[in-house]
């Protein structure tokens, strides 16, 4: 996708600039954007490392166990087909916790493990099971307790109030999640 859009944007911009006599601005624009990328990355490096460091501490505390217990009823509701598959439920729970703590790097391998466990009980190996569908949709909705990436970006850009977005993010995520779950439940019934 970006392999088409990226060259198209650049080529069209250059042609447009030549036609409308904006070559000088274009030149400046190119080099400004490069130094801008470097500058932003440097400030962002500081703020993001703070959060990945903090979340690593959180990951090593008993908060994991508590979240696990808290998530149980939701998992039982969302994955009725996994009633007797304790391993799959445990792996799904760990994946969700990693997502909640904003540990994207840890979440994906855990998620793949859960997918493999669910695949073992799948009778049609080339088709998603109901539980797999629900699991993927939950993963595409970003459930995060503290949206550390965005807070780090906002801090780097000198926001007066970097954390002001936490509650709006929660509300939007829950809304998106509910819509995703409803659509998935419909698909599970209609598409076999």
């Amino acid at each position: 996708m970006l392999n088409i859009l990226w060259p198209a944007f650049i080529t069209l911009s250059v042609i447009y600039a030549i036609i409308f006599g904006k070559v000088e601005e274009l030149n400046e624009g190119i080099f400004n954007s490069l130094s801008n990328a470097v500058e932003f990355s440097i400030t962002f490096l500081g703020t993001i490392c703070l959060w990945t460091g903090m979340m690593k501490i959180a990951q090593n505390t008993s908060i994991i166990r508590k979240l696990n217990r808290l998530l149980r009823p939701f998992i039982n509701f969302l994955f009725p087909d996994l009633k007797n598959n304790e391993i799959a439920k445990q792996e799904i729970s760990m994946n969700m916790i990693a997502n909640i703590l904003g540990l994207g790097n840890a979440a994906t391998p855990l998620g793949i493990k859960a997918m493999k466990t669910m695949q073992n009980e799948n009778r049609k190996k080339d088709t998603l099971t109901n539980s797999m569908m629900m699991f993927i949709v939950i993963n595409t909705a970003s459930i995060q307790l503290i949206p550390t990436n965005v807070i780090a970006i906002r801090t780097s850009l000198n926001s007066q109030n970097p954390t002001a977005i936490i509650i709006p993010v929660w509300i939007a995520t829950i809304f998106a999640g509910v819509i995703g779950i409803i659509f998935t439940k419909i698909l599970i019934k209609k598409v076999k």
């Binding site: 990328a37 501490i57 090593n60 505390t61 994906t108 970097p162």
Partner: protein, 176 residues
């Protein structure tokens, strides 16, 4: 009142930090070593992200400087007005499900241009925080177990994304 709200929001980050550290100490975590381990992962994130960031910044830079972006925005404004979404966040809405780092680069660009603490900056942040890279997520989980038939899961995931984006816009409008 404004002072109190300001005070609360200014103390949020320090309080989260202290809570995590105290929790770590209580659970006998070697907090400093663990912090360093985590911070290293942060370096990796920025390292992996930088090439995309540079590429996208370059593309946006020339789009802006040439004036082409204004022409495009003028074209799509009637549509976005209909959806009640500010036209300057449309690039995020389109890119978000496709590429994580590209949409992040665009988000940074939008917030630099229109301000972090403006309505546009707020909506952009909220969308970034509340949605995921849908296409990538679906691709990685289905290909990991060799599944081809996805039973239309993409539609459910995209419906969730769109719902999240509309919700973000509405919430930010109400709050600001």
């Amino acid at each position: 009142m404004a002072n109190i709200i300001n005070y609360i929001s200014n103390t949020t980050i320090p309080i989260i930090i202290v809570l995590i550290i105290l929790y770590g100490i209580r659970d006998k975590v070697r907090v400093f070593d663990t912090f360093l381990d985590g911070a290293k992962e942060g370096i990796e994130i920025v390292f992996k992200m930088f090439p995309t960031l540079l590429g996208i910044f370059l593309a946006i830079g020339v789009l802006r400087a040439s004036g082409l972006i204004d022409a495009i925005v003028n074209l799509i404004t009637p549509i976005t007005n209909l959806l009640e979404i500010p036209s300057n966040i449309l690039p995020i809405a389109i890119l978000r499900p496709i590429s994580g780092s590209a949409s992040m680069a665009v988000a940074v660009d939008i917030m630099q241009k229109y301000g972090v603490d403006t309505l546009t900056g707020f909506i952009t942040s909220t969308i970034m925080g509340s949605t995921e890279t849908t296409f990538y997520t679906i691709a990685i989980y289905t290909s990991a177990v060799g599944i081809k038939k996805t039973r239309g899961i993409l539609f459910a995931a995209l419906a969730a994304d769109i719902a999240g984006m509309i919700a973000s816009t509405i919430i930010c409008r109400i709050l600001s």
